[in-house]
Subunit: 345 residues, 2 copies
Amino acid sequence: MKKKPITILDIGEELNISASTVSRALADSSLVNSETKKKVVELAKKYNYQPNFTALSLQSNSTKTIGVLIPNVVHEFFGLVLRGVEDHCHSSGYSCIVYPTNEDPDREISGIKALMTGRVDGVLLSFRGKTNLHIKQLIERNIPLVFFDTADESFATHRVLIDDKKAGYLATKHLIEVGSKKIGFIGGSENINNQLRLEGYKQAVSEAGITIDPQLIVYSLDKSQDEMGLEDSEKLLSVKGIDGIFATTDMFAVGVLKNLKKINLKCPEDIAVIGFSNWAISRVYEPSLSTVEQPGYEMGIKAAELLIDQIKNPETPSDFKTVLIPTEVIVRTSTARGNNVAHST
Amino acid sequence: MKKKPITILDIGEELNISASTVSRALADSSLVNSETKKKVVELAKKYNYQPNFTALSLQSNSTKTIGVLIPNVVHEFFGLVLRGVEDHCHSSGYSCIVYPTNEDPDREISGIKALMTGRVDGVLLSFRGKTNLHIKQLIERNIPLVFFDTADESFATHRVLIDDKKAGYLATKHLIEVGSKKIGFIGGSENINNQLRLEGYKQAVSEAGITIDPQLIVYSLDKSQDEMGLEDSEKLLSVKGIDGIFATTDMFAVGVLKNLKKINLKCPEDIAVIGFSNWAISRVYEPSLSTVEQPGYEMGIKAAELLIDQIKNPETPSDFKTVLIPTEVIVRTSTARGNNVAHST
């Protein structure tokens, strides 16, 4: 049976003073004499009194809690985002409710609806929706919203993203710099991030005076982060003369490296390979994998910071920002040829 | 500026009926005539009325929310636990507040204290505390608590664990079955799970009539999941005649595999290696790594199920259970010798 927690009423009754005097005494108000204060504090301690969160929330119209919708919790990048969000919340006195949506647009909608009922002061979202009515409703209720990783551009909100197009451009340019001329692209799914990375790829290829060849651009059906797109990269590797591959996830890049071993091609000598995200596996695999750093922790910190600032200063006419977290190419063995020496990261 | 959400008072005022009639109408009560009901429902729809979570919580003395303390969110095993917890919460109409504690006992204490203020109906905890006063306080307040992964055995609660001793025993026994006679143990830190895995190791070694050799038992200073314990496994591999290694994490096992390549020893021919957890890397690395499955998703489902059952039936005198989630050895290339054929998992 649930024991009823001690309230200021109980403390007041025992000391024969009013609940508001107890409340003032606990807040160290000058309106209460020091002897009464001492008695109240002692009794509160004795009964292990804790102010009730829910009652305080209703009183203050604030929950000191934010909600975070995470597409995938078994995922290094989103894990890092969550750690960043949590660290900033922790240092700001906020808590964080996490809704994993498993990349399911319906769960995104039900998550947003659950968060709209007054249980959070603001929401962080990596947008995966097919529609955006739920976002519209959230914004109409004036619940602060910050997008991270992916945004629905049709709303005026803060956004914390990476520049996916630039990152794709830098990865492909790096392959060109190490001498690749016929460069394949393998992406996990045709989501907005991968489309932008492909745009960057096309820009780098075009700038180098190379014709864009559709047979070098492949989206794999293996969409899960654990999958390596083995079949699709095998097809890509069968294109004659291919000498470089940009994969939009590190697991896909590892799939390419595995297939290369099978057909006795050497990496980086025959084909240079670069991945995306800088997961642990890119450092651990042999050959170690060049990749693009995707700074999840920094993204989480920044998104939580913007959201909590907006919650605290709701009356400031917001000058919404799109913050791009810088990315960089990390060179390891899989592209270490010519003048490029692999870093020991 | 935050717009005030529509309440039943507003709806009542507009229709010139009492708030309680609105409330009854929304609950489809037989005390309200169908015409009024229709008007109320239409207006509620028009204004997108949502019941206030905080007000409902105070009324019902229930938050329909559980709190989960996770030692590490950038971690495949804990990610899977969280996914299991979330899936069960989702199907039971509960939400889940996540507190990553970063393996820090102080953050475990502050997390528990934050959760004690009435914002959750129950708590899931992987215990990492150095002291347990915070657990005592939680239990004194009759807030249901279920331990997962690691438990403080001094409290009567449900626990959802794996049998770490048995898992360590099975891993070591498997190495003996594939012909290893001088078997090393490398552990990430001397926490309770690893101590139990070591006990299992010792049992298997003793049963095989092999003397336990302290120089074959190593704890690495690299405690982070991303670290591979390279230095420590190098020392272990320098022990003459060593022909098998049981590592308590897959990353440590990969560190061993890397060191073996450096000193030109073959795996599994010269040394058989088995890891722990069945992370993606164990499947992807070459040679693929034999390991012990640690079913995080099942653990999360079961822990959430026991907690929510306890929240719903608080007056049943609880017959607290310790549920052991079954583990099994997954055989891959790193121990595939003799009669053992690597599975293609």
